[in-house]
Symmetry: C2
Subunit: 203 residues, 2 copies
């Protein structure tokens, strides 16, 4: 045994890199960044797209409020600075997941162009911005969590679309109008893009 | 199309959960948390274990200083508070990776029991603590990055093992003595544990 002692720290048989992880999974890692107003259908669409991808044999993961806000980002407030940090951390975690070879879906309002630009810069051509498009009127008419009602009543301040701006993407890779399209057609549009872009195999 | 408009937000065909992601990969998600002094061989061992797992068809990912310190945690200093936050964030990200069905390996000194206890609490029975054991003397004799020399010269303050304590795990799942074992035997010990614990298939 004594001979091997000093070799431990220089021992290398090779390593597992992104290419090897992707080869095992049969597809590239990438990040589908869903952005849109509260009630636009981001989470619904992301979940439906994930299911479609999973059923095609893709390895997927969703980052959303449920698993990020109460965990990694639970020490962040809703101040401007912390909202920026919220998106930055999500972008960094999405980068790790993409590096792991996973098709990663994120579903956060992410209202500011500058924040999304930081993530795009970080991820390069693995960043797929999906604008989940629905007017404030449509979103407010859905209001599944009663948030618009509370915002109108002044109970929530800086509410995106009501008292805080939503800066729509100027040239997203995908723009899905959930006020017009059915969920099935919305999913088909996203899958079609990924297939055309070579990020997943054509079916 | 008009009929489907209002159904978007309540549409559910089911969802992709941890069990489905694990079924696709053929193994559970778990976190191998390597802890030990600088120079103990954490990164070397974690990389070698990852390669062995990958070669068995397991889906893996390593979180280490290279991909975390300069990304997700680049806004943290080396203050006590930030060191704690560093480990907390790594634990939360490891939890997400484990939830994604990935065998996740982390390689950080993580010198404090209380910090590791937080992560253990978070991950439950998916947490596998691996103590990478080597005496300060052995690590200092290796000193691959010249850090011990700098610490002895007072150029690095609060250096674990020299001017800051390393609190060794009291009951780690695995304890590997890299001062005694070859790297091949160290890897075999870790793989043996994972196999015996049912976290990976027996070979």
């Amino acid at each position: 045994m004594s001979e091997s002692k000093s070799t431990n720290i220089t021992w290398h048989l090779g390593e597992v890199d992104q290419a090897k992880r992707e080869a095992m999974k049969g597809h590239q890692g990438a990040v589908l960044w869903f952005t849109g107003l509260s009630g636009s259908g981001k989470s619904t669409l992301a979940n439906a797209v994930e299911l479609a991808l999973h059923n095609r044999g893709c390895h997927t993961y969703i980052l959303d409020g449920d698993n990020v806000r109460h965990g990694l980002n639970k020490n962040l407030t809703f101040s401007d600075e912390d909202r920026m940090e919220n998106i930055r951390r999500i972008g960094e975690v999405a980068r790790l997941f993409s590096d792991a070879g996973i098709l990663t879906l994120t579903a956060f309002i992410s209202p500011f162009r500058s924040d999304r630009a930081v993530v795009r810069e970080l991820l390069g051509d693995r960043f797929v911005e999906v604008h989940v498009k629905a007017s404030v009127e449509v979103c407010e008419s859905r209001d599944p969590k009663g948030l618009y009602q509370k915002a109108r009543a002044g109970e929530i301040k800086d509410f995106t679309g009501i008292s805080s701006p939503y800066e729509a993407p100027e040239s997203p890779e995908i723009s899905v109008d959930t006020g017009e399209l059915s969920i099935e057609d919305s999913v088909a549009q996203v899958i079609g893009y990924l297939s055309d872009a070579g990020l997943i195999a054509a079916s």
